[in-house]
Every structure is written in C-alpha cells, then in structure tokens.
C-alpha cells in the first residue's frame, strides 16, 4: 500500500512541476527565454509546468544570472520560503559559474555559492529548448 502511494506521489510530482523564476543579477537574456517557455511555441503547460508567482506555491526555483551581493539574502529567503520537496535549477552560464561577470566586484559567482543546485543549464543565453531539457532531466531524477 505504502509503495503504491509512493508511486502515485512520484507520478504527480513528475507531472506537475511549478516553477518560480528569480533573476539574481542576470542580463535579461535568459529571463526572456524563460518567459518564452510559457508562450505558444514552447508552451510548457503541456508538460504541466506552470510559472507561479509565490515561492510558497513553487516546486522548482529557476535562477538566472550570477548572484550579486544585493540579491544573495533574498535568494536564500525565497529558497527557505518554498515548501519541500524543492529543487534549484541554475539557468544560463553566469548562473552556473558567474560567467562573464565572475570577476565583477559586486558578483559572488554562480548560484551554487548560495544554494544547493540540482541542475545546471549552461548557455549564454540558454535556449528555451535547453531549459526544457534541463527540467525534464531533473524530473526524471525526482523520487
């Protein structure tokens, strides 16, 4: 019985990933590609992805951009506000490593300097297909 419930819940989690998008210091390039995911060509609602507004409703935190000194605490707080189970996806090269901005005086580096990252999606900027692929691969690992 427990096994069946476990499998049902896993099925539901894989099919209903609600994402929250936070730009922690990016250039907008990845952000508009993430918003693009919602629009007719990519339409991620067909795989159950919804872009949520409140951290409390979200399962996956999609981060773009490097972490700047101003956004660090906010990023942590948003992560803490999300109910478990939750995952973090770093979208874009600068959110993976700091990228081109890594030696800026106000930049701390990639998202993994602040939060545990579950999936890295490189690209500058990431294509929407790459973001979808990253999410799908993340969901395949969901238990």
């Amino acid at each position: 019985m427990g096994n069946i419930i476990h499998r049902i819940v896993r099925w539901a989690r894989r099919r209903s990933p609600w994402v929250l998008h936070f730009n922690s210091g990016g250039c907008n390039g990845c952000d508009i590609e993430i918003v693009d995911l919602l629009t007719p060509r990519y339409d991620v609602e067909r795989v159950g992805i919804l872009k949520e507004a409140s951290p409390r409703h979200a399962d996956i935190l999609l981060c773009t951009g490097p972490v700047t000194r101003q956004t660090r605490d906010r990023l942590r707080r948003i992560y803490e506000q999300m109910p478990a189970p939750k995952w973090v996806v770093a979208v874009g090269t600068c959110s993976c490593s700091g990228g081109i901005f890594r030696d800026g005086y106000n930049v701390l580096g990639g998202i993994d300097q602040v939060l545990p990252v579950d999936m890295y999606v490189p690209g500058c900027p990431c294509r929407p297909e790459a973001v979808i692929e990253g999410l799908v691969q993340l969901l395949e690992q969901v238990e």
Binding site: T68, R69, Q70, Y105, N106
Partner: protein, 148 residues
C-alpha cells in the same frame, strides 16, 4: 544648437579661463572648465540656450585627478569637462538646474567618491547598503586595482 554663439557666451562669462574647445568623435565638442565655474556654466546653457538635455555624467579617475564629463545633447553633443583634485573631490550639484541629473550624480558619487554639494538625496544608487564604508572604497577609483 548654435555652437559658436554658445562658446562665445561661455567665454564672455568666464573671460580669464581657457575653454579649449576641441572636437571629439562622434560629433561632440569638449569644453574644459574649472570646477568652480561649472555650475554657472550649466546655468548659462540651460537658461540662455535652453540646453536642458544632460545625457550623462561620466566620472573617471585619471590618477591625481578625477575628471567629470557632463555630456549635453541638442542635435549635437557638447561635453563640459572638469577636473577635481583627488584629495578634495567636491563639486556643486546641478540638480537644481537639471533635476534629471540626480541619478547620474549619485552614481558618480558612489563609484568615485565625489561629493556633490547640495544634492537632495545622496544615497547609494547601485551599490549594496552594506558596501564597506570603512575605509571608504570606491569601485572605479584606480588605487583599488593596485591593492587587490
């Protein structure tokens, strides 16, 4: 913009200063002024020539001096160049003449440590609130590169 008339008027207002007008690409004219004349000069541009569009204020640390460039524009560019002594980087604000300069001045102020006297709200603009203040460090000042 009537550049010749403008230069003439400026020279008339500051008879003993060397204005050094020189063309700079692309379509810009640079005029040099001492810091204490700048506010009056901007006032003259705004009132006599209706030159109200200040595109930007560039600040640069060139070693012993901090250079400020006030980029104006009215169908062609006019830049007022002034140099402050690094030890005492202060200049009168132009926000009373051009309210739009408020953010430019705040940025120059935090990046280079220039004090704009009379600025209505000289808080930091881009840097974090906890940017290390003791001793003051300014991201675009040159000495920092040598330190790090």
């Amino acid at each position: 913009m009537k550049l010749d008339a403008l230069l003439e008027a400026l020279q008339e207002a500051f008879p003993f200063k060397e204005l050094n007008p020189r063309p700079v690409p692309v379509g810009e004219t640079f005029i040099t002024l001492p810091p204490d004349c700048l506010h009056r000069a901007v006032g003259l541009l705004v009132e006599r020539f209706d030159l109200r569009h200040l595109s930007a204020i560039t600040g640069e640390d060139v070693g012993d001096e901090i250079v400020l460039l006030y980029h104006f524009w009215d169908n062609q560019g006019l830049t007022l160049r002034t140099a402050l002594r690094r030890a005492e980087a202060r200049i009168a604000t132009v926000t009373d003449l051009i309210p739009g300069a408020a953010l430019y001045e705040r940025e120059v102020s935090e990046m280079l440590g220039v004090t704009f006297e009379g600025h209505p709200g000289p808080q930091v603009l881009l840097l974090p609130d906890d940017w290390d203040d003791e001793p003051p460090s300014y991201p675009l000042r040159q000495r920092q590169e040598e330190d790090s």
